[in-house]
Symmetry: C2
Subunit: 225 residues, 2 copies
DNA sequence: GAAAGTTATTTTTATTTTGCAACTAAGTTT
DNA sequence: AAACTTAGTTGCAAAATAAAAATAACTTTC
């Protein structure tokens, strides 16, 4: 049996943290920011902050606000990842972090570089404050898993892209090569992309630029048990 | 810009709620409990409660405690589902519910029936307090999704079961029939079950009883992009 | 107690999907 | 214009899946 005091719960810390992932050249990178307060002042960490009960309508809005206020970015793809909540993850006390992950094309953030913001390879990070390494690992795993059965990697590319670029994106995320014809067959069968009349001029044969058909959110591939 | 007060965050409510699912006859059922306090006193709702910062080491432990204290049950399968957090989901104020879902064989809970505990079909519920309908819908969807590519439904069966029973379980969850030989081939190929020498005596040919091989956690099926 | 009925389990066969390789197409560079 | 490179397509064998049929092991009925 517990008394009223215990039943009401002790005060806990409630934050959101955002794992912003992007793909540069051949590496998956995560956005980190030098902390502007204690604990871990000055150390690179995930952008995050307290939930602001009076201005955030829900946790997704809080994550959007963090992205906007801390990084000056708006991400079309923002999904709840997991909630890390324990007595030990934050030295200040029992704490819950509702974590989100966001995907952005490298082009969309190139302009945003600031002295406090840095991008590091998500697969090869130094030790970060709190349980941020674990949060990032979880985000990368989620991205990899979901890329095996969905069109998620499209969100790492700009609005217009070639099929070869899309295949390369999948290959970089998954870490292994894909068959060209099988890949194109699948994309074509699912029909969530549309070809535009534009082409990517390069050194060789120009490639047709594609885009996600409007009104197509996240496409899931068929799986059969 | 925000002042210190706002940056520290306003007090928010942090709870865990548990969606306990089980399969009876031909229906997926969810455990509900009549609330013993306001708000919504007396109404059936998901078992849940405040996180107890001084006794719960993490949110999973809090969910286990809820299951134990409120339902008198221990569930081998307990997974974080989603965190529902918003200004409007609880009349008392800004609230976050870290929700978990648990799976149990019907046999394991038959003995636990109490006057406050009831099981209702998860697909056909009355309106419940808070956003509990949405939480349950999310849990059912997660179970259905995950059943298409994992051995999750095993956890809805007792330790020993026949392959036909397992197939029926999949079919009830997924809502469509599966091919018998393909199903058995897949289970056999994955090799996470072992046959026992026991059989299920019935009206007709006895079926061999199987069990999950020890040291096998959750088996995921292969998916190819 | 043999025949019929029912469920379990395996085997066979047909159909679909995938993986690989070769081929054509369209540009640039030499 | 010949060689080179990347884009995109086509054909086919191998693998996986689905459907159907066959066989096995029991119980119940007549």
């Amino acid at each position: 049996m517990h008394n009223k005091k215990i039943d009401k719960g002790h005060p806990v810390i409630l934050t959101v943290d955002v794992v912003l992932l992007t793909l540069t050249k051949d590496l998956l990178q995560v956005a980190l920011q030098k902390r502007d307060k204690e604990p871990y002042f000055g150390q690179p960490a995930l952008p995050g902050g307290y939930v602001h009960a009076e201005e955030d309508i829900d946790s997704q809005a809080a994550a959007r606000r963090v992205l906007r206020e801390k990084l000056g970015l708006i991400s079309p793809y923002l999904e709840q990842l997991y909630t890390f909540a324990s007595a030990t993850r934050d030295p200040r006390g029992w704490s819950a972090s509702i974590s989100y992950y966001a995907l952005l094309p490298h082009e969309a953030i190139a302009a945003q570089q600031s002295d406090r913001l840095l991008f590091l390879p998500a697969d090869d990070l130094p030790q970060l404050p709190f349980d941020h390494n674990r949060i990032i690992d979880t985000a990368v795993k989620r991205l990899r898993d979901k890329s095996t059965y969905s069109a998620l990697p499209c969100h790492l590319l700009p609005e217009l892209f070639t099929l070869s670029e899309l295949q390369q994106t999948y290959e970089q995320i998954l870490g292994h090569p894909l068959d060209k014809s099988a890949f194109r067959r699948k994309i074509s069968d699912l029909g969530f992309l549309e070809a535009t009349s534009k082409t990517r001029k390069g050194v060789h044969r120009p490639a047709q630029l594609h885009r996600i058909k409007p009104a197509n959110k996240l496409i899931l591939f068929n799986r059969t048990i």
